[in-house]
C-alpha cells in the first residue's frame, strides 16, 4: 500500500492505494466518479481518458500511485456547477453519440485538443481522436461536434 494525494476536479484527496490499483479504478471505485469508463482496459479504446495536469491520458494505463501529486480532471469536472461544457452541448446538438460509452473519453480528448489548438482542421480533429474508438457513430458527428464547439468558443479563453 502507498499513500497518494491527488486533486480531482478541484478537490484534494489523500488515500491509501494498493500498488496495482489502476487510476481508473481509483476514480470509479474509491472516489465514485463513474463518468470515466473502462472500455478495453489495454490502452486502445480511450474511453478512460482523463486530464492529468491538463493533458489527456488513458487512466486504465497508469497506476493510481503514479498520479501522486497530480491535478486530475474527469468528465464530471467539465461541468462543475451543472452547466454543460461547450463540448458537451455540441455533442448533444450534433448527435455526437449513440450509446454514449465512448463519449466521456471523446470529450476529454477533444478538450485537450482544443486547449492546444482552438481552431483545428477536420484532419487535425480526426488525428487528435486517433486514440479513441467509437463503435456507433462512424465518427462524423463527433468530428462535427468538436468543430461546432471550436466555432462557438473561438476567442474565448478555455
Amino acid at each position: 500500500m502507498s499513500t497518494i494525494t491527488v486533486t480531482v476536479n478541484g478537490k484534494s484527496y489523500t488515500k491509501e492505494v494498493e500498488g496495482r490499483t489502476l487510476l481508473v479504478h481509483f476514480l470509479r471505485d474509491t472516489l465514485g466518479l463513474t463518468g470515466t469508463h473502462v472500455g478495453c482496459d489495454t490502452s486502445s479504446c480511450g474511453a478512460c481518458t482523463i486530464h492529468l495536469d491538463g493533458r489527456a491520458v488513458k487512466s486504465c494505463s497508469m497506476l493510481a500511485a503514479q498520479a501522486d501529486g497530480s491535478i486530475l480532471t474527469t468528465i464530471e469536472g467539465l461541468a462543475p456547477g451543472g452547466e454543460l461544457h461547450p463540448l458537451q452541448v455540441a455533442f448533444n446538438d450534433e448527435h455526437g453519440l449513440q450509446c454514449g460509452f465512448c463519449t466521456p473519453g471523446m470529450i476529454m480528448t477533444a478538450a485537450d485538443l482544443l486547449s492546444q489548438n482552438p481552431n483545428p482542421t477536420e484532419r487535425e480533429i480526426r488525428e487528435g481522436l486517433e486514440g479513441n474508438i467509437c463503435r456507433c457513430t462512424g465518427y462524423h458527428n463527433i468530428v462535427r461536434a468538436i468543430q461546432l464547439a471550436a466555432e462557438r468558443t473561438a476567442g474565448v479563453p478555455a
Binding site: 496495482r20 490502452s43 481518458t49 497506476l63
Partner: protein, 347 residues
C-alpha cells in the same frame, strides 16, 4: 494483474540501488507498455521502482550544438519542443507518427527505448514464444507473421529463434540521427550508441537490448548534426492511424552546394528486431544527385539478405519501394512539412 511492491525514490542513485536490491524488479515511468504487459501476464515483476520523481525531465542544449533529452520528458513534450521541431524535425515527425495523443502524453523518452514487440505470440501466453519463454519455440515462424521481421533473424541453428520486430517509431529516427543513450548503473555511468542499444535476437531473443541489470537510462543525446532540411519519416501501416508500422523509413540527407548528396542516413522500422541501417547502402549515395535508379540500388542493398516467412514476404518489396519514395521525398525537401506522409495518394 499480480500484486507487487512499489517504491518511489527521488534520486537516480536511490533508484539504481533499489532496483539492484530487489528480485524481479522493474522501473516504471509512463508505464503505457509495461502495465499492458502486466495485465496480459507477460511481465510479472514483484517490485516496481517508480522513477517519475527523479529529476530527469529536462531538455538541454549541449555545448557542441547537440540536444540532451531527459529520460522522463514525455514523447509529446519532446515532439512539440521548440528546439526539437527546429533542429530535429525528423525526430518530431517520427514520434507523432506513433501511438495516440493520450499515450504520447504519458510515454517517456526513456520508456520508448524499452517498448517491447507487439508480436501476437509474445502477447498470447497460450502460445510458444522464445522471447517470452526461452526454449518454448516461435509461434510466428509458421503462424500469422504479417507484421514480422524480414532482416536480422539469424540464429546459430537452421531456423530463427525469433522474428519479432521492434515497434518504436521514435527509435528509428534516433537511429538515423546517431543518438547516444546515457545510463547510470551500479558500476557508474556510461553511454551506449543507439546502434548498439537494441540487439538482434540471435540465440537470446529474450534480450531486447544491451542494458545491464540495474542500469537506468537517464537521457538521450542528439548529436549536433540536425538534418533539418532534407528528411522524412515515411510510415506504412494497415490503417492510416493508430497502428504499428509494417515498414517505416527515416531518411536524413545532407546536400552539398551543388545539390548532390554529401551524406545519407536511412533507418528502417518494422523490418527487424532493431531499427535497421546499412552503411554500405548509404555510401552508394555519397556524391550523387537524386536518381530513381540509384535509389532502387540503395534499396536493394539495404534489403540484402532479407527473408520472408509467408505472410510477411510482401514486406521485402514494400520496404524497397518505401525507401525509394522516402529518398525522393527527403531529397525534394518539400514534402516533409505537416503530414504529407499520411496523404491518401501515399497510402
Amino acid at each position: 494483474m499480480n500484486s507487487f511492491s512499489y517504491s518511489r525514490p527521488d534520486d537516480v542513485n536511490a533508484a539504481v540501488g533499489e532496483i539492484s536490491e530487489q528480485t524481479q524488479a522493474k522501473f516504471i515511468a509512463g508505464g503505457t507498455n509495461l502495465l499492458d504487459l502486466m495485465k496480459e501476464n507477460v511481465e510479472h515483476p514483484q517490485h516496481l521502482v517508480d522513477i517519475n520523481h527523479l529529476p530527469l525531465g529536462f531538455i538541454d542544449e549541449l555545448p557542441e550544438g547537440g540536444l540532451r533529452l531527459g529520460a522522463l520528458v514525455t514523447n509529446a513534450d519532446t515532439a512539440y519542443h521548440e528546439l526539437v521541431q527546429k533542429n530535429y524535425p525528423l525526430l518530431s515527425m517520427a514520434i507523432l507518427a506513433g501511438a495516440s495523443p493520450q499515450l504520447r502524453n504519458m510515454a517517456t523518452n526513456g520508456g520508448n527505448l524499452f517498448q517491447r514487440t507487439r508480436c501476437y505470440y509474445f502477447y498470447d501466453t497460450a502460445t510458444a514464444c522464445n522471447k517470452r519463454e526461452p526454449g518454448s519455440g516461435c509461434g510466428a515462424l509458421t503462424g500469422y507473421n504479417r507484421i514480422h521481421a524480414i532482416l536480422g533473424t539469424a540464429s546459430s541453428g537452421n531456423t530463427p529463434q525469433c522474428i519479432a520486430t521492434h515497434p518504436s517509431d521514435m527509435c528509428v529516427a534516433l537511429r538515423a540521427l546517431d543518438a547516444v543513450v546515457r545510463v547510470s548503473g551500479p558500476n557508474g555511468d556510461r553511454t551506449i550508441p543507439i546502434a548498439d542499444f537494441h540487439r538482434l535476437p540471435g540465440d537470446e531473443p529474450e534480450r531486447d537490448n544491451t542494458i545491464e541489470p540495474g542500469e537506468l537510462v537517464t537521457a538521450i543525446d542528439l548529436p549536433a548534426e540536425h538534418f533539418n532540411t532534407h528528411y522524412t519519416y515515411l510510415k506504412l501501416r494497415d490503417r492510416a492511424s493508430y497502428a504499428f508500422a509494417l515498414v517505416s523509413v527515416a531518411v536524413a540527407l545532407r546536400l552539398d552546394e551543388g545539390g548532390q548528396i554529401a551524406e545519407a542516413r536511412i533507418a528502417l522500422g518494422g523490418v527487424a528486431h532493431k531499427p535497421w541501417r546499412n552503411p554500405a547502402a548509404e555510401a552508394l549515395l555519397t556524391g550523387k544527385a537524386a536518381d530513381t535508379t540509384l535509389f532502387r540500388q540503395v534499396a536493394e542493398q539495404l534489403l540484402d539478405g532479407a527473408q520472408g516467412y509467408g505472410n510477411n514476404t510482401f514486406k521485402i518489396e514494400l520496404a524497397k519501394r518505401a525507401i525509394v519514395r522516402a529518398l525522393d521525398m527527403a531529397y525534394a525537401g518539400s514534402t516533409q512539412a505537416g503530414d504529407a506522409y499520411k496523404q491518401e495518394d501515399i497510402l
